[in-house]
């Protein structure tokens, strides 16, 4: 099934996986030997190290074989043999873009933000954070994943606590303890899973692929308990509704770079974890308990939107918008069909891009005005029209305006949701409208009107700033207009995952009270038509360039090659 067949293809000669982790680590070591006062050199070193890593991740993107559903760039070395631990890294369509996103966001975050004080530890922690973020998305040994999952807490803790605003120490502590508490039982779950599997295989291993093969043989109780131990850890990280309270604090108090990475990369750990280690390892339980996560996801969408509307602090608005967006992603994951999951993966990347960009922009507003309070701002559009324009674009991407990247992801999720979990999707649609409400309202209050004396001094977007954020703007438009290159790389892996789910779920049916066996005639065709019109890009590999009469017709492959080149340029 998924990933089992495929290690032969693209087993890279160059160990790109470990290199993506080691380069930031080595950069951190170099930084440790630079004098604490040489801020410029420190920043340049960090920028160089993160850019090299980012470039390597783009190289990987270019080398990625999009027809391959399984793992690529696999490296595997034994680590602790008596426990069966290995350094096992690999990439598939699901993790590819998350790795690339980390590779792109870190240099941009370093470039666009300022350390303010103590540059040496600041860049040191950022580099360690980058290494951890890379590792967590590539690790395919369950314990190795857990190690990276936990270790990223330390640099983030220091970044929030040392360079944050306001109530930073409290926020950092809350962030650390919430996540660690979530992860505590997961470790027991991981070990239990490995040992229960070892009873049948006779060999202790934490290899995700091997475990996935043997999980269906375990008792339902064991599966459920282990799944719940995983799910709690991920629910804190996502964050799902009742466990989200660390997020607004952490996001708001973190320094800009911290917020960017937190939103762009670290929030994805939870949803990625659900996908890779929740659904893949425990198809049956995930299916049986999907209603819980669908419900929490929908609550997150509505609750996040409602609370975001009420915030007085611009950064908090965006923080709560993350709760809503991540609710969408959770919804997409747990409908357990191709569109939903594909949309969720797409949306994970989108959210990273647009929320990351929003945090950067809010960071710049704060630099200029030393406040983020919405009431204190106003009329910025008059004095800084370009800045306002950039903000508008990014905000609309976050709202999900058609033609920008956010729309594609949300649409796919809603499409999948409507097929798989109709009664949860209907209230979720309201979230789209609410997103428009809270973001546009916030925009209106901050940018419209007449600037008072303080706001009249607001500095226009600098060239350097514009250039730094340009890659993100380019991605927002590009992925909105032409998502195909990305979707077609995600799709084979998602298809394989869904096939794995279907094969391992008894009585596979859409979760929910109503299965709608007899849809009114024409609905299926209607859905199919929509699907094709909007998402011809997402069509299955076999159908490529076929006779769908799609816009790109026979040139699909050719076009596609061009555009992936473009993607690289934009990244660079």
């Amino acid at each position: 099934m998924i990933v089992l067949a495929a290690e032969s293809a693209h087993t890279a000669t160059f160990p790109i996986g470990p290199a993506l982790i080691l380069v930031p680590v080595l950069t951190a070591v170099v930084i440790a030997f630079i004098g604490a006062n040489r801020a410029a050199e420190l920043k340049a070193t960090a920028l160089l190290g993160s850019s090299i890593t980012g470039a390597m991740s783009l190289w990987m993107l270019a080398q990625f074989d999009k027809t391959e559903a399984g793992l690529q760039f696999v490296t595997r070395t034994a680590w602790v043999e008596d426990l069966g631990l290995q350094w096992f890294f690999g990439i598939d369509g699901i993790s590819l873009f998350l790795v690339v996103l980390s590779g792109v966001l870190f240099p941009i975050a370093i470039l666009t933000t300022d350390h303010h004080h103590d540059p040496k530890p600041y860049y040191l922690w950022l580099m360690i954070l980058m290494a951890g973020s890379m590792g967590v998305f590539m690790a395919l040994d369950l314990l190795l994943f857990f190690l990276f999952f936990e270790v990223v807490l330390v640099p983030m803790y220091f970044l929030i606590g040392g360079w944050g605003h306001g109530n930073r120490v409290y926020a950092a502590l809350k962030f650390f303890l919430y996540t660690m508490a979530g992860g505590a039982l997961m470790l027991v779950g991981i070990v239990a899973l490995a040992f229960l599997t070892a009873r049948t295989t006779g060999e202790l291993t934490f290899d995700v692929q091997v475990l996935a093969e043997h999980v269906p043989a375990l008792s339902t109780t064991a599966q459920t308990l282990i799944f719940l131990s995983f799910a709690t850890a991920f629910a804190v990280k996502v964050p799902l509704f009742p466990l989200h309270t660390w997020l607004p604090d952490a996001h708001t108090e973190a320094p800009t770079a911290g917020s960017v990475i937190l939103a762009g990369v670290m929030l994805k750990l939870g949803t990625y974890g659900y996908l890779r280690f929740g659904l893949y390892l425990f198809p049956q339980v995930a299916h049986d308990l999907a209603w819980i996560f669908l419900t929490l996801g929908v609550i997150g969408i509505l609750y996040g939107a409602a609370v975001a509307t009420m915030q007085k602090d611009l950064k908090r608005v965006i923080a709560y918008s993350s709760v809503a967006h991540l609710g969408f992603i959770a919804l997409g994951l747990f409908v357990l069909n191709t569109q939903g999951i594909q949309g969720a993966v797409f949306q994970m990347v989108n959210h990273g891009i647009s929320t990351g960009a929003l945090f950067i922009l809010v960071g710049w507003i704060y630099e200029r005005r030393h406040t983020r309070e919405i009431a204190a701002l106003g009329g910025l559009q008059k004095v800084a029209p370009v800045f306002a324009g950039v903000f508008t674009l990014v905000m609309l991407s976050s709202v999900g305006l058609p033609g920008l990247n956010g729309f594609v992801g949300e649409f796919l999720i809603l499409l999948g949701g409507f097929q798989g979990a109709r009664w949860w999707t209907i209230p979720a649609v309201a979230g789209v409208i609410l997103a428009a409400l809270y973001l546009l309202w916030a925009y209106q209050r901050v940018f419209h009107g007449t600037p008072d004396d303080d706001n009249a001094q607001f500095e226009e977007l600098r060239w350097s700033e514009g250039l730094a954020i340009l890659p993100l703007l380019g991605l927002i438009v590009f992925l909105g207009v032409y998502p195909k290159p990305m979707l077609e790389r995600i799709e084979p892996s998602v298809d394989a995952l869904v096939a794995h789910l279907e094969a391992n779920i008894d009585d596979f049916s859409e979760p929910g009270p109503e299965h709608m066996p007899d849809r009114p005639a024409g609905v299926d065709e209607l859905i199919a038509t929509y699907h094709e019109a909007e998402l011809e890009a997402a069509s299955h590999g076999d159908d490529h360039g076929g006779d769908h009469g799609d816009d790109h017709g026979d040139d699909a492959d050719h076009d596609d090659a061009d555009h992936s080149d473009e993607t690289e340029e934009e990244h660079g």
């Binding site: 604490a36 006062n37 801020a39 680590w79 602790v80 043999e81 008596d82 426990l83 303010h116 004080h117 103590d118 540059p119 314990l143 857990f146 190690l147 990276f148 936990e150 270790v151 807490l153 330390v154 803790y157 220091f158 606590g161 040392g162 930073r168 120490v169 950092a172 502590l173 650390f176 303890l177 660690m180 508490a181 505590a184 039982l185 470790l187 027991v188 070990v191 239990a192 040992f195």
Partner: protein, 538 residues
């Protein structure tokens, strides 16, 4: 048995006793040398000699290790007429004690200098105590075990009270002595009862007797109640030494009052020796009746984990905090002992490997952590409140960085030896199907993490008191790290610290990281040490 007509001296294979001889005789020679040549009393000469003795004892293990690993399976060499046993586990524990001794000797150096104390007696007691620990690790007879325990303990009682000008040190020593003596008495009573129940004090012979009794299905005879009470009393004695709840009451008080380098020895070598002896007695000696003592150990682990984590978070003194953290660690190690006690050989193997790994990883962490406190706390160990760590990162970035590594490792952050140790314990617990205990241990680790983070917060994230250091958000000044140093009354910068102390801390931090990333180092030694309990278990 005891009353023999002629005293037969057993043949002694001296070459296997080298570590004990080097440590013990080395101590005696040191005291002789420093009495005869007063010039050697001061400065770092005794520290250097002590460290050399510790290293020599460690190296003397090499030929012994070769001998115990000659064969494929574990080799047990009985010496002194069966009272002592040398096997891979003994060698491993001895090694840990030697490492600790060297590190603590180096800590003593800076400490004694700062306190203006004369030093050879400290080092002599340290060496004697270490020799006692080695005897405990090798004892195969409960009487000898008790002798080793007393050699170890009495030296440490004195060490705890040895800071003559500080009342709190004397109080700590006194408290430790009273409670320690009580627990020794209980332990001895346990030995007596065990002798009554089995007719022998030899650990391997006890195992044989119990094995025979089990074969004859005689466990329900009258003897068993005496046996059970004996085991219970032994557990109380061990529980006191490893500070397992509910026998942990003394730990925070004694740790707080005793001179800090002595605490680092108490927290490491004493616990290592006690756990080694505990494992040998319980698993090799009383393995046949493990269903009797395992629930008790589980309950002790349960309470110890809770006490060590929850009571820790209300503390405000760093030494007390780390005392509770050491209780928490003891809980983890008890979980490993509990797992190793199962009759299933595989689980025993994982459990003992976990315990062995934990002993070394934890010892180094404890020595390093208390080493930092010793460096920071200033003359007379006066300043050990969390407040005194406020803003330490600005004054001593290197020391704070190293301390942060040690604290995060104790919290169990990945890629440190502390994580690997905890992970191995969880593996053992799950392997033994003690899921609840494993879950509780992890939750306790999270609660304990709060404690370590409080210290980290104080060092790195709290702006130092305005009175001590300029409150400096640093928004304008890039080079703000050193601002305000002149106004300090506390310790100076990194460069003012005694080099030996800093070296110990740096070694501990480096060891923690290296062993955390490459935990397969020394795998063979650990496997051999654990194997002793598998193949020799009844």
């Amino acid at each position: 048995m005891l009353a023999q007509e002629t005293i037969a001296t057993p043949p002694v294979e001296w070459s296997l006793l080298w570590p004990v001889i080097i440590l013990g005789v080395g101590g005696v020679l040191l005291v002789t040398l420093t009495s005869l040549v007063p010039a050697t009393r001061n400065r770092s000469i005794p520290a250097g000699i002590t460290a050399a003795i510790g290293i020599a004892a460690g190296f003397s293990l090499l030929p012994i290790y070769d001998r115990v690993t000659e064969a494929e399976g574990p080799v047990q060499l009985t010496i002194t007429g069966g009272a002592m046993i040398v096997d891979a586990f003994t060698v491993y524990v001895t090694l840990v004690i030697c490492i600790v001794t060297v590190l603590v000797a180096l800590l003593f150096d800076g400490y004694l200098r700062r306190e203006g104390l004369e030093g050879p007696d400290w080092y002599v007691l340290l060496l004697i105590s270490a020799a006692g620990g080695v005897i405990m690790a090798a004892a195969d007879d409960l009487i000898l075990l008790f002798v080793g325990l007393e050699i170890l303990s009495i030296a440490v009682y004195v060490l705890a009270a040895l800071h003559l000008r500080r009342v709190s040190s004397q109080e700590a020593g006194f408290k430790y002595f009273i409670l320690g003596a009580l627990s020794s008495a209980i332990f001895l009573y346990g030995i007596a009862l065990l002798y009554g129940a089995t007719g022998t004090t030899s650990i391997s012979a006890i195992a044989g007797t119990l094995g025979d009794a089990n074969e004859r299905a005689l466990t329900a005879t009258d003897d068993s109640s005496m046996l059970l009470v004996g085991i219970a009393l032994l557990l109380v004695g061990f529980g006191f030494k490893v500070s397992a709840a509910p026998f942990q009451m003394w730990t925070p008080d004694v740790y707080q009052g005793a001179p800090t380098p002595v605490v680092s020895f108490m927290g490491s070598a004493v616990k290592v020796a006690a756990f080694a002896a505990m494992a040998r007695v319980l698993i090799l000696g009383l393995g046949e009746v493990s269903s009797d003592w395992r629930p008790v150990v589980a309950a002790m682990a349960f309470i110890t984990l809770l006490v060590g984590s929850f009571l820790a978070i209300v503390q405000t003194d760093v030494k007390r905090m780390l005392a509770y953290s050491s209780i928490n660690h003891a809980g983890f190690m008890l979980v490993a002992v509990h797992a190793a006690g199962t009759p299933d050989a595989d689980v025993t193997r994982t459990g003992m490997r976990a315990l062995a790994f934990y002993l070394l990883a934890y010892s180094v962490l404890v020595v390093g952590s208390f080493g930092v406190i010793s460096l920071v706390s200033g003359r007379g160990d006066e300043t050990t409140s969390v407040d005194s760590f406020r803003g330490l990162a600005r004054r001593q970035p290197l020391l704070s960085g190293l301390f942060a590594v040690l604290l995060f490792a104790q919290a169990g952050v990945p890629f440190t030896s502390g994580f690997m140790a905890k992970f191995r314990v969880i593996v053992a617990a799950v392997d033994g199907e003690a899921y609840v205990l494993a879950g509780l241990a992890m939750l306790a680790a999270v609660v304990a993490a709060f404690l370590y983070l409080r210290i980290v917060v104080a060092m790195f994230l709290d702006d130092a008191d305005a009175a001590v250091v300029h409150a400096d958000d640093g928004a304008e000044d890039d080079g703000s790290a050193d601002v305000g140093v002149e106004t300090l009354v506390l310790a100076g910068t990194d460069t003012d610290l005694p080099i030996t102390g800093l070296a110990v801390v740096a070694f501990a931090a480096a060891f923690t990281l290296v062993w955390g990333v490459f935990p397969q180092l020394g795998e063979d030694v650990l496997a051999r040490a654990a194997e002793v309990f598998v193949l020799l278990a009844p």
